[in-house]
């Protein structure tokens, strides 16, 4: 049943990637920028939740997740109001905004290194250590809970975007900000919500990843890129694509790491990224649209 373990692991990490990818997709749709600091939102959520756990060791997993999400969400909104929005208002060229997000990323990583040190930090056991039996297959509870959390969060996001008034306005702004404004949308607030949600998704992903492996100040760098790979694989700008891309990439990476060298595990994502950008820029979703 080794295959089942791999499959579960792939799905779990896939959920993490999907959440990060969703953040990328939402921000790209709303602002057109690739948010280089997205991975740092994941990292800061992960570290903040861990700090909270140190203060309150008996915190249940759900609340821990909430802590991470709130921290990242708040930070994302701060980034938007302190840096990104002023840049947009000054109408600086897109490249400058992107460079600024690179700067933000560097700032966050180094701030984290100063605050939390450079050693990896372990999450204490969040769930029972005995494996669950699902359909007769033994799966680690960590993986199950992560998949569960991931699916629930993504489902809630979809519900929010499609069924609530705010969600619909956010989608309108993403499609055409000018027209949405003419229809009365408060652009500032909608952008803030977009960043808040993208941040919360990243924070949740950070807590999940931390509980699976560990937290460290540079975790956002690699996970951010991989989240971006996932978003690109699915089809940049598509929320469904982000979710699909995350799962698919998680599976590809997990299985390749076993059958290809594990030292080059990260390389798989990089090669896939460049390949997609060059040969399939509209991603899996684009491929599916072309078929139908």
């Amino acid at each position: 049943m080794y295959l089942a373990d791999l499959f579960a692991a792939g799905l779990a990490i896939g959920c993490v990637y999907s959440l990060v990818a969703l953040g990328f997709a939402m921000i790209i749709r709303a602002t057109g920028i690739i948010h280089f600091a997205q991975g740092e939102l994941l990292m800061l959520g992960s570290m903040s939740a861990l700090s909270t756990l140190w203060l309150m060791p008996r915190l249940p997993a759900v609340l821990l997740l909430a802590c991470g999400m709130i921290a990242s969400g708040a930070l994302a909104v701060a980034m938007e109001f302190l840096v990104y929005r002023p840049l947009r208002l000054r109408r600086v060229p897109l490249m400058n905004v992107i460079t600024a997000t690179v700067g933000m990323s560097i700032l966050c990583i180094n701030a984290a290194r100063i605050l939390w040190g450079s050693e990896p930090l372990r999450y204490p056991e969040l769930f029972s250590s005995s494996a669950y039996g699902i359909f007769g297959v033994r799966v680690s509870p960590q993986l199950v809970w992560i998949m569960l959390f991931g699916v629930v969060l993504m489902g809630l996001l979809q519900l929010f975007l499609k069924r609530t008034r705010t969600g619909l306005v956010m989608q309108a702004v993403a499609q055409d900000a000018e027209v949405a404004q003419l229809m009365g949308a408060n652009l500032t607030r909608m952008m803030a919500y977009t960043f808040a949600i993208a941040g919360m998704m990243a924070g949740a992903a950070g807590v999940m990843f931390g509980s699976l492996f560990f937290s460290f100040f540079e975790m956002g760098f690699v996970l951010g890129i991989k989240g971006f790979v996932a978003a690109t694989l699915g089809g940049l700008g598509s929320l469904a694509g982000a979710m699909l891309g995350g799962i698919v990439f998680g599976l590809i990476e997990t299985f390749s790491a076993v059958y290809v060298s594990s030292a080059y595990k990260d390389a798989i994502g990089m090669v896939l990224l460049i390949a997609i950008l060059l040969f399939l820029p509209s991603g899996l979703v684009g491929l599916w649209k072309r078929r139908s």
Binding site: V83, L87, V102, N110, D266, L277
Partner: protein
């Protein structure tokens, strides 16, 4: 006027060793010259043709390791290793050529991905590069059989290369090629409508920037004589980007100034050391917010009353 100033600066730079400064200062200034060389390449790529590459460290590293390996394993004399380093980096950049048709942020991410791949190769292929243990015992640079042992001579070598690259890029900037790549940056559609072969020129910029970074890498290898993969991570690419941004996007002189600031500031302000990258991240954002002409632009403003016009 500018010609006199330039000549004066050059004379001062070349005369410096004869005033007997401390070897450590000469070493640091050599590093500044080396960094300036890489930064100049990025200035061509980013400041002139508008392509954001956050992966220049990959070419810097390829050049460094190529030169180091060729001289330690094959005993190649420095001039050959130096040239080979540039060529190796340039050849590697040909792999990136398909990426040049990507726009803005996607190009940046692709360069990032590429540099991560190069880093992984440097780290994992121990049989070739020594992996995480690094490459040791790289000989000093030598010219015409004469080994450069004095820090002053090494300094002069680095400054000469930097000056050569600087003036070459200056000529390019003022030529038909330079106008065309600036046009690409300012308005790609209009450049096409003038018959500019956009993808070709963008690729040429990439190759030149990589070649220059490779040369700088070679100098670096023979200056510090020990290489580790961790010298060539994303952080190094970011440092190079900071040099260009702080110095002023589009200004060759700015790239040199930026290199000086980035390399020397942590030494001058010892306390800053640990917070170095933090400060640089903040500076990056600040410059984007408040105007991208950087130090060079600021100096230009100060000197306006003195210029002929």
């Amino acid at each position: 006027m500018t010609k006199i100033v330039t000549a004066a600066i050059l004379a001062a730079l070349f005369a410096l060793p004869f005033f007997g400064p401390h070897p450590f200062i000469l070493h640091m200034l050599s590093l500044v010259a080396i960094s300036a060389t890489v930064a100049l390449g990025l200035q061509l790529l980013l400041g002139f043709s508008g392509q954001l590459s956050i992966g220049q460290a990959a070419f810097y590293g390829i050049g460094a390791y190529a030169s180091g390996l060729l001289s330690t394993r094959l005993g190649l004399p420095f001039p050959a290793a130096f040239a080979a380093a540039g060529l190796a980096a340039a050849l590697a950049s040909l792999l990136m050529v398909p990426i040049t048709r990507l726009s803005g942020a996607y190009l940046a991410v692709a360069t990032l991905g590429f540099s991560i791949l190069v880093f992984l190769l440097l780290k994992n292929e121990e049989w070739l590069t020594g992996g995480s243990f690094g490459l040791m015992g790289i000989p000093r640079a030598s010219l015409f059989g004469h080994v450069i042992t004095q820090p002053g001579h090494a300094y002069l070598l680095c400054v000469s290369v930097a000056a050569l690259v600087y003036f070459s890029l200056l000529r390019l900037e003022r030529s038909r090629f330079g106008r065309a790549i600036n046009a690409i940056r300012q308005n790609e559609d209009a450049a096409r409508a003038c018959g500019v072969q956009v993808t070709l020129l963008k690729s040429q910029c990439f190759v030149i920037a990589a070649f220059v970074a490779g040369l700088a890498g070679s100098l670096y290898a023979h200056q510090v004589r020990y290489l580790a993969p961790t010298d060539f991570t994303f952080w190094k690419s970011v440092e190079i980007l900071i040099m260009v941004v702080i110095g002023g996007m589009g200004s060759l002189f700015g790239a040199v100034l930026g290199a000086a600031v980035v390399v020397l500031l942590p030494e001058v302000l010892r306390e800053v050391g640990d917070y170095r990258m933090l400060v640089f991240g903040a500076i990056l954002m600040a410059v984007m917010l408040f105007g991208e002409s950087g130090i060079a632009g600021f100096l230009g403003q100060c000197l306006k009353p003195f210029s002929k016009r």
